[in-house]
Structure formats: C-alpha cells, structure tokens
Amino acid sequence: MFWVYLTEFVLAVVLVAWQYAWPTWLRLDGQPPDLAVVLLVTVGLTRGPLEGAWSGLSTGLMVGSLGRLPLGGLFVSHIGAGTALGLLGGRIFPNQVFVAMLVTATTVIAMNLVELLFLPPPVFVRWLTGTLAQAILSGLVAAPLFAGLRALFSYLPPPAES
C-alpha cells in the first residue's frame, strides 16, 4: 500500500503546484480551479475514506506550504472533506463524471465556508463571488481530470478497507 499513498502524495504535489501556477487568462473572475478538491473528490469517491483523509492531509500541507498559510484550518477542511467524500463514495455513483463535477463544485463551496471561520476575508462580497466562480470553474475542470485520475487509479491495488 506504500506505493498507493506515495502516488496520491505525488498527485497532490503536482495538482496543487499546477493550481498555484494556473495561467491568469484561464481564470474565471480571477480565480483558478481548486485542483486539490478535484483530487479529494476523485480519491474519496473511488478509493474510500482512509485514502481520502490521506489525500486531504497531503493537499492541505501542499496548499499551506506553497501559499504560506496556517495549516490548522486547511487540515480541518481538507481532511474533513476527504473523509466525508470517502464515506459518500458507496452511497452515490462514484463512477459518473457528472456526479463528480457536482460534488466538486459543492465541496469547493463547503470548504471555503469552513476556511472562512479560520481566515476571515477583508471584503465579504468579493469572497462570495470568488467562491462561486471557483466552484463553477472547478466543476468544469473536474470532468477531464476525474476521468483521467479514475483511469490512473484503476491500475492501483484495491483500497485496504475494502
């Protein structure tokens, strides 16, 4: 299982770095897509809560390290989201791209709400419009990424808890 966790950590490094370097001309209302959430949704829905939580820890650490942000709030939102999505995995349709898009958009909004408690924004309305734009863009980007990541995960051994 070591290679599974290592693969998920490497994906977290690549996707979070990609998110930070997302080109300005491809942003929606100044916002890049939340690629960390796309990874959480894919891992959570297809691999279960434990690997979801591990991906939450990895993405939270990467987002905090590259953005020099306090880790506490990021861990709460990312590990929480990864675990919750893993628990949801058996109840909703984990293999449907459209479901992944909807879940990604919803998760972005939920996680931004949690992070709002830890890091209040200077202008609330801007936070609101930014969150909505990010949710829409993340949902759109989730379609190809989810399909690609799901194909990649099919080569990995099945999750330990199953």
Partner: protein, 281 residues
C-alpha cells in the same frame, strides 16, 4: 503504511492522520515563532517549486504559440508601433542620462548623499495566490543571487510590491501594492504633494486594479493625468519609483475637508510574467 502505523501506535489510521496533522500544525507555529519555515513545509516547497516553474513555462509557450497563430496580423502591426516607440525611448534615454550625470555632478558639489547603484535581479513569476483575498505572487530569481526579505519588486512599468518572505534562497513571496493590507508613501511628481496610497477594494472577483491616494487636503494641487511616484518617506520603498497615473480626483466620502485621488497603476498585476528585484542595501 497507515496500517503499519496503527499496529505500532495502537491508534486507528484516521486518528493517526489527525495526530499527524496536529503535529505538523504545531511544528509550523513553533517554526513561525522563530521566523523560520518548518522542515515539512520546506520539503513541500522544494517539491512544489520545480513543478510550478515547469507549468509556468509550458503555459507561456502555449499562450505565445496561440497568440502567434491567431493574432499574427495585429502582432505585426504592434511590432512596428513598438519599434517606433523604442527609437523614441532610446532618444529620451540619452537625454535622461545627460540629466542624470548633471544631477550627480551637482549633488557631489553640494555634498549631498548619492544614490547607491545596485544591480537588479531578474525574476520569473511562478505562482499566484489562488484566491482574490490575498494579493501575493511567488517569484523565482533567474540568477543565482539570493533574495532577501524587504527587497523591492518592480516591473518595467512601475512598482509591484515587496518581498515578505524568502522561501529557499532564490524563491520568495511578494506582497503586491494592491493587497488590502498594503500602504505606501507617495508623491505627485508634478506638484510634489505627498499622501498615502492604498488599494481600492471592489466587490468583483480578481485583484483590485485601482489605487487611491488619501490624506490629501481639499486644496491639494493634484490633477487628472499626474504621475504618482514613491516618496521614500515610508521607510520601506526608495523614492521615485513610478506607481501610477491619476485618473480622478474627488472629495473624500469620509472627511469633507480632504480629497481622494484614484490612481491607475502602471503595472497590470493580472499579467505579471517577469519582474526585477531591487536589493535593499
């Protein structure tokens, strides 16, 4: 790995992850108290920056290729216009160099302190804060010189911001002058009126694209079209770095006896690719 951890620690894997998260958070706090970066964060930065650098290069290549394909005609026209502008600027540079030498000679004769000449460090923008709340960029020096906290960052057009954190020698976080927490001392280049420049907050997404100069008396001599430069009186920025141009002047909504000037920055913060880092003495 996690199951092994459970066997060793006697904790469930999820509890182990939560404990690990708490340890990492405390490590960050302890390192932050001594103004350092914790080891796990440092490792993550060392892993993340090369990926950010590669992604930025690929983005630039794709963008340039797309531009050259779809806008070939307008690019040719722009090229002609810029060549003409370049010639004009070369002439102006010769004139300015003459004035600079004259000024230097006068300052020497008057016994005034001379500005130290420092070599700027070119840097590439490799990352942007992924939200509109924090106006920060991550830069990586293109030379093997080390960046320092407090270094000034500028673009050909004007002032960009200052380095607030050096990550690993040649990469750093830059606080932009359009960040909500930022303020700087500025001067009207024509009338020499001084004031404080802050960003104008708006409700739209994206970073603010306008600044405002505050603390100006009602009869302050400031006009639309005036160029605003740094005053050097804030102790942070050196004087005479261009900031922007005055777009409008209005009575302050808070104090009737003061006016506020709206400034359009010379720098397009959404399209920063390369910057210059001016080392602080």
């Amino acid at each position: 790995m996690l199951l092994d951890a459970r066997r060793r620690t006697g904790l469930s894997p999820l509890l182990f992850l939560v404990t690990l998260a708490m340890v990492l958070t405390m490590w960050q706090h302890l390192a932050g108290d001594s103004k350092r970066v914790s080891l796990p964060e440092y490792v993550c930065q060392m892993l993340g920056y090369p990926v950010m650098s590669v992604v930025t290069r690929v983005n630039e290549a794709l963008h340039d290729t797309a531009l050259s394909v779809f806008r070939a005609q307008s690019l040719a026209a722009e090229n002609r216009r810029l060549r003409q502008k370049c010639k004009q600027l070369e002439n102006e540079t010769i004139l300015l160099t003459e004035h600079f030498r004259e000024n230097k000679a006068f300052r020497e004769k008057l016994g005034l302190e001379l500005d130290q000449e420092v070599k700027d460090i070119p840097a590439r923008v490799i990352g942007r804060a992924p939200d509109s709340q924090r106006c920060r960029i991550t830069i990586q020096a293109l030379e093997s010189r080390e960046l320092s906290k407090g270094d000034i960052v500028r673009e050909a057009g004007g002032l960009v911001g200052r380095v607030i954190e050096v990550m690993n020698g040649n990469a750093a976080q830059v606080l932009l002058i359009v960040d909500a927490q930022h303020g700087l001392g500025a001067r009207d280049q024509r009338s020499r009126v001084v004031g404080i420049v802050r960003p104008v907050q708006h409700w739209r997404g994206g970073w603010p694209d306008r600044l405002q100069m505050e603390k100006l008396r009602r009869r302050a001599d400031i006009l639309t079209g005036d160029v605003i430069i740094t005053s050097g009186e804030d102790g942070i920025y050196p004087r005479s770095i261009p900031v922007g141009v005055v777009e409008a002047v209005a009575t302050s909504p808070a104090y009737a006896h003061t006016v506020v000037a709206t400034i359009r920055p010379f720098v397009d913060f959404e399209r920063l690719d390369y910057v210059w880092v001016v080392p602080t003495p």
